[in-house]
Assembly symmetry: C2
Homo-oligomer: 201 residues x 2
């Protein structure tokens, strides 16, 4: 693409770095910015800069936080001996939205992915092991994606956690509530039969 101005070219190159945003979408975003008030665009740019510059992570669970200890870890009503291990903050938000979990979290910051060069050392695994010893954690719930990377990470974690004597569980997989059997994939359906639970009325 030939841009009529270096400012446009620069902004398009920067915005197209976002995942899923190509040059055409970035140009559309640039045109949107050009039509806005200068103050509004400055506010957006500053929000982006400030986000990365001032972000802090909870010392205990590594979720993003405005304080040294996040709202969840510092909440005395939540059980620090029940820890749910997740990939990133979106998973924390999703589980919090269910209002079904009263323990704490541990945010790994990614999943083991040899193709992208992400090994166990780049994830918050050592701090999880220390935390289990220090805070006498009783149960670890693995809430990782049902993908190759998620399963690899879960397997690695279980090997590290087993010697610590902590009980390990994983979120249940199966047919979604309201989902129809005929449209479910074979693996999910097969697993939901193998992992069947007693019927409760």
């Amino acid at each position: 693409m030939n841009f009529p101005s270096s400012l446009i070219e620069n902004a398009v190159n920067e915005l197209s770095k976002f995942p899923g945003i190509g040059k055409k979408s970035a140009l559309r975003m640039v045109l949107y910015l050009l039509k806005q008030e200068e103050a509004a665009v400055t506010k957006m740019g500053e929000a982006i800069i400030k986000l990365r510059k001032e972000i802090r992570f909870c010392e205990r669970c590594h979720n993003v936080s405005d304080l040294a200890l996040c709202n969840i870890c510092s909440n005395p009503k939540r059980d620090p001996q029940l820890v749910c291990v997740v990939e990133d903050l979106r998973d924390v938000m999703a589980i919090e939205n269910t209002n079904q979990f009263s323990g704490n979290y541990h945010v790994l910051g990614g999943l083991i992915n040899p193709i992208q060069g992400i090994g166990p050392d780049q994830l918050q695994i050592d701090s999880l092991l220390n935390r289990i010893k220090e805070l006498e954690v009783k149960e670890i719930i693995l809430a990782l994606s049902a993908t190759l990377e998620g399963d690899t990470t879960a397997f690695y974690l279980s090997k590290k956690l087993n010697p610590l004597g902590v009980s390990i569980s994983a979120i249940s997989r199966g047919i979604a509530i309201g989902g129809e059997l005929e449209y479910a994939d074979e693996i999910t359906l097969g697993r939901s039969i193998a992992n069947r639970i007693p019927y409760r009325t």
Copy 2:
């Protein structure tokens, strides 16, 4: 959505202002930013702020430009008496990519759209009329979208341009090169028959 940090909430709110970007996509963008180096994120934020703050528009054609007169308007090899009227800079870029046009442009900055409250006064129409008189423009090519707004704007312009004695043309509509007749919509196909041209070998 409940965000674990006000910085995240702010950035998500700002990024979801972009057209086509919802809260979930914005959160995905925020997670991407958190994983980047601070310097790279600052660079992106500054590119956005600088874009809006320092952008200049060509005095003559109103396209974005680094100089008072854009590269196209100041190019002596291009014909200033042939002016192609377009909606925005993407259209200029698209036509320039064809290498088929040697005239100048006039960027309206939008189309007449009563629903969005955009009337002729908000577009660069007066400056087009002045330019035609001052620079003795001979032909105006209307290259506007084939939408209700594009047709309305073209109709309005033709009413304003007719008294000036300038010749007015519009880009041809029809079946795309390589397009198959059976998949063309009826309006395009009908118009391409009505506007048929002599066959040249």
